[in-house]
């Protein structure tokens, strides 16, 4: 499996946006520092992952879940993240529930039209759904991949 360095860094656009939001007007970041920030982000993910996975393994679970991440944050002494993270989790769960209802409804509508031009509509709707999902939630819909 070819591992390209670009694959393992987080998108610069998002990093740039976060930098802009965090810093006061007039303060900038050197090119090297920008890269270091991106690397720090990756290290953070790995460190949090490792911590969270310890909790999952302790509980004899093979799937890392949100609770493990919360426990990891506490362990890493980022307790003040816990409340906003719980909120983010709630928002996510609600979004998932809403999406499920919407897609179930769409499925029902599709069944009615199955005799006519359903094929094209299905594809269009799926594309639209995906686009909307990416915009609104940045959600990963794919199945979990075993390591």
């Amino acid at each position: 499996m070819a591992e390209r360095p670009e694959d393992l860094n987080l998108p610069n656009a998002v990093i740039t946006r976060i930098i802009k939001e965090a810093l006061p007007d007039g303060v900038n970041v050197s090119k090297e520092a920008r890269r270091a920030i991106s690397q720090a982000a990756s290290v953070f993910v790995l460190y949090a992952t490792s911590c969270a996975n310890n909790f999952a393994m302790k509980a004899k679970r093979k799937t890392l879940n949100a609770g493990d991440v919360m426990a990891a944050m506490e362990e890493m002494e980022f307790e003040r993240f816990l409340e906003p993270l719980r909120e983010a989790l709630e928002v996510y769960k609600k979004g998932q529930k809403g999406k499920k209802e919407v897609s179930e409804q769409k499925r029902k509508d599709r069944e009615k039209k199955v005799d006519s031009e359903s094929r094209e509509e299905e594809e269009e709707e799926e594309e639209e759904e995906e686009r909307m999902e990416e915009e609104a939630e940045g959600e990963a819909e794919e199945e979990e991949v075993e390591n």
């Binding site: 998108p11 900038n28 919360m70 915009e135």
Partner: protein, 143 residues
């Protein structure tokens, strides 16, 4: 107080986060909610790092955050000590190629080994030059 703006851009792609997470070979499956929370945690972490570094930058009467400021911040805040190795490896020379980001991986469990925590710069050079044998060169050098 600024309201909740639509911050689509500050969300990290879940797929990319998952890829990074799965560099850790002990990680199995990942619940779908996880990359979403990690993304939010990342955002908060980076803002915290930037804000604290910025204080140092300003104390030095500069308008540009540099590596040196970041190093100082990492050193002074216990919260950021997990970044110490990264800070040590980071220099302001030509070593700042994107590939150097790979130096970070051996610090955590990866496919190759769990023993070596640091790679000397030469090792990094070797492993990056030939992808296919990179795993072997790392093993030889570190063990």
């Amino acid at each position: 107080m600024p309201g909740q703006k639509r911050r689509y851009n500050v969300r990290f792609p879940p797929r990319r986060i998952k890829k990074i997470m799965q560099k850790d070979t002990e990680v199995g499956r990942i619940a779908m909610a996880v990359p979403v929370i990690i993304s939010r945690a990342l955002e908060m972490f980076l803002k915290s790092l930037l804000t604290k570094t910025c204080l140092i930058t300003q104390s030095k009467l500069s308008a540009v955050i540099s590596i040196a400021h970041m190093k100082q911040c990492i050193e002074s805040e216990k919260l950021f000590h997990f970044l110490k190795d990264l800070a040590e490896r980071t220099s302001t020379t030509a070593a700042q190629k994107d590939n150097r980001g790979m130096n970070v991986w051996p610090l955590y469990r990866n496919k190759r080994h769990e023993i070596c925590a640091k790679k000397p710069p030469e090792a990094a050079e070797t492993s990056l030059d030939n992808d296919s044998s990179s795993s072997e060169s790392e093993l030889y050098i570190c063990l």
